[in-house]
């Protein structure tokens, strides 16, 4: 992964009349990185990305995208980036291939429409009117339009919202391909599993502020929520007294005497010790589950809200 910063944001602010949508946020996105912005509706993530796309002026702070100021060098910036908007449309009677050729003509550099149609699995639909496409096909076309100028930086604003799981997986695959091609992607999403799977780093935004930033794993580790280990043995444990396993914060045994639950801050070490103990006790293991805090748990912990609030 290239480490040169592609996006630099310092003390960024956005105000609409009396509403402060973005309250002085700082972050940077490196080249080749997939950077996720997570937050509930109205958190300020769309305002932030629209400022970076050159679509809205900022109220305060500094922002540089590919070396351009999004306020002052809009045209140059738009020529170099790819954008997949949350809500957009095309004229109903526009054909798929025509749309790619039309939008391609707006840029100084563009890819061939045939290449994009094949890549986005739209080749069979190239002569279809936009109004006849399904939701998934429209979204694939939106992504093809975002790629029409062969951009090194893409902004994908909730690209899978409202799509069925099959199409969502196809789009995930495409984003992974973009990552392999060393393109930088800024992604906003409501789907935690999408962020966990695709993003190198995420920033959690709430009420216009970044409340946490890091790799999904770092955020999970930083969480105060402990990992939970669930163990089921073949025969009941002798007695109810459980030893103080290292790093275990709380242990409990169910009434059947076979189901053991242990909360730990370092689950790998605790689990290893439990296994040793069970072996020493001569007990056979029937089932074991380790549940780490998900990004969703971290999100709820930090914001007190559900992501889809």
């Amino acid at each position: 992964m290239s480490t040169a910063p592609v996006i630099q944001v310092r003390a960024l602010e956005k105000r609409y009349d009396k509403v402060e949508a973005v309250k002085g946020i700082d972050f940077q996105v490196d080249g080749g990185e997939v950077f996720g912005l997570l937050g509930p509706n109205g958190a300020g993530k769309t305002s932030t990305i629209e400022i970076l796309e050159g679509l809205r002026p900022r109220t305060g702070g500094d922002a540089t995208v590919l070396g351009f100021d999004p306020d002052r060098q809009k045209q140059q910036l738009k020529d170099r980036i790819g954008v997949c908007l949350q809500a957009t449309n095309l004229p109903g009677k526009m054909r798929v291939q025509e749309a790619l050729e039309l939008f391609g003509s707006f840029y100084t550099r563009s890819l061939s429409s045939e290449q994009l149609l094949k890549r986005l699995q739209l080749w069979d639909k190239r002569a279809a009117y936009y109004e006849t496409l399904s939701g998934g096909q429209k979204q694939r076309l939106a992504l093809a339009l975002a790629l029409v100028n062969d951009p090194q930086l893409l902004f994908l604003d909730e690209p899978t919202t409202g799509l069925d799981p099959q199409i969502r997986l196809e789009i995930h695959k495409l984003i992974e391909e973009l990552k392999e091609e060393k393109r930088t992607v800024v992604l906003t999403t409501h789907y935690i599993e999408e962020a966990e799977r695709l993003c190198d780093r995420v920033a959690i935004i709430d009420e216009g502020k970044i409340v946490a930033m890091g790799t999904p794993r770092e955020l999970q580790q930083r969480s105060r929520i402990q990992s939970r280990i669930d163990i089921v043995t073949e025969t009941p444990l002798n007695g109810n007294v459980l030893p103080p396993w290292p790093e275990a914060l709380e242990s409990s045994l169910a009434q059947d005497g076979r189901s053991l639950t242990v909360y730990s801050s370092r689950p790998a070490r605790t689990l290893f010790e439990i296994m040793k103990w069970l072996d020493h006790q001569g007990l056979q293991l029937e089932d074991v589950h380790l549940k780490r805090p998900t990004l969703e748990d971290v999100f709820v912990e930090l914001t007190g809200k559900k992501l889809r609030d």
Binding site: E53, L55, Q75, Q76, K78, D79, V83, L85, A87, T88, N89, L90, P91, K93, M94, E98, E101, L102, F103, S105, F106, Y107, T108, L145
Partner: protein
């Protein structure tokens, strides 16, 4: 330049795929023409009057509904939002709208003049090219006014109200439907302020008095100035997204676009 050509080519394709465009640009005005010609076509002067009425109806329809309402529709449907993320400015979209309207409308004018000539023996204008240029100027000027309305209307409802507020007075008071000889007193004064008056007067001079563009510099100038002012205002107030609301006071920009007609109306009123 390539974005201008691409948008014009695309707009043309889209327009020709819509049955409504064909109906309102060709079939409806032709039905209108033949119906009125059947009632009034006793002499060539009356046929020329029906031709002027039909052209005015088409020019106003193309300007206010074809350009104005269509632009609001594209914004309301989030179509313009897709263009906003590309490096283009509003200029190619506005120019594209004007050129497409002209390319679609011009064949109708030629067809109408030829039908009036062959079927009702109306003499062809002495300066045919001048007349076509004049009607083209009018079409572009009224499309510019339609785009100004689209720029100041916050939604389709507001747009419909504004369009109706202009369309009917311009149709009825410009002398195209009710002949200007019938206007007296206040109505005659209002008639002088109405933009469509200059379109109808110019056509009358070119079709009935064998005049060319040079003899009609006043209406030509008015239409050219309106095109520039309308184009400038619609460019300045252009909005890509329905969420970008414009203040109510911005609607006064429509009056600014009509300034040439207000000035000439005042001048004409004092002159007479």
């Amino acid at each position: 330049m390539k974005e201008y050509l691409a948008i014009i080519a695309m707009d043309m394709r889209l327009a020709l795929r819509l049955r409504a465009v064909i109906f309102f640009n060709y079939l409806f005005p032709l039905i209108f023409f033949f119906t009125f010609a059947a009632f009034m076509g006793r002499n060539t002067d009356q046929i020329a009057y029906v031709v002027r009425m039909s052209v005015t109806l088409g020019v106003l329809g193309s300007g206010f509904f074809g350009a104005g309402i269509r632009a609001i529709q594209d914004r309301e449907l989030n179509i313009l939002r897709r263009y906003k993320v590309t490096p283009i400015t509003p200029a190619p979209l506005l120019v594209g709208s004007m050129v497409t309207g002209w390319l679609i409308f011009l064949p109708y004018i030629v067809l109408l003049l030829l039908l009036a000539h062959w079927m009702y023996h109306m003499p062809l204008p002495a300066h045919m090219l001048d007349l076509l240029i004049f009607i083209s100027l009018a079409l572009i000027a009224f499309r510019a006014l339609g785009l100004v309305i689209a720029s100041v209307a916050n939604n389709m409802q507001e747009g419909q109200i504004l369009v109706q507020l202009f369309y009917f007075p311009l149709l009825l008071l410009g002398g195209a439907t009710i002949p200007a000889d019938n206007f007296h007193g206040v109505m005659l004064t209002i008639h002088k302020f109405v933009p469509s008056t200059y379109l109808v007067d110019g056509m009358l001079n070119m079709m009935n008095k064998a005049q060319g563009l040079v003899s009609n510099l006043e209406p030509v100038l008015m239409l050219v100035i309106t095109t520039f002012i309308g184009g400038f205002i619609s460019m300045k107030l252009f909005r890509w997204e329905k969420e970008e609301k414009i203040k109510g006071s911005a609607k006064w920009w429509v009056v600014v676009a009509l300034l040439p007609f207000i000035v000439i109306g005042v001048w004409e009123s004092f002159r007479h």
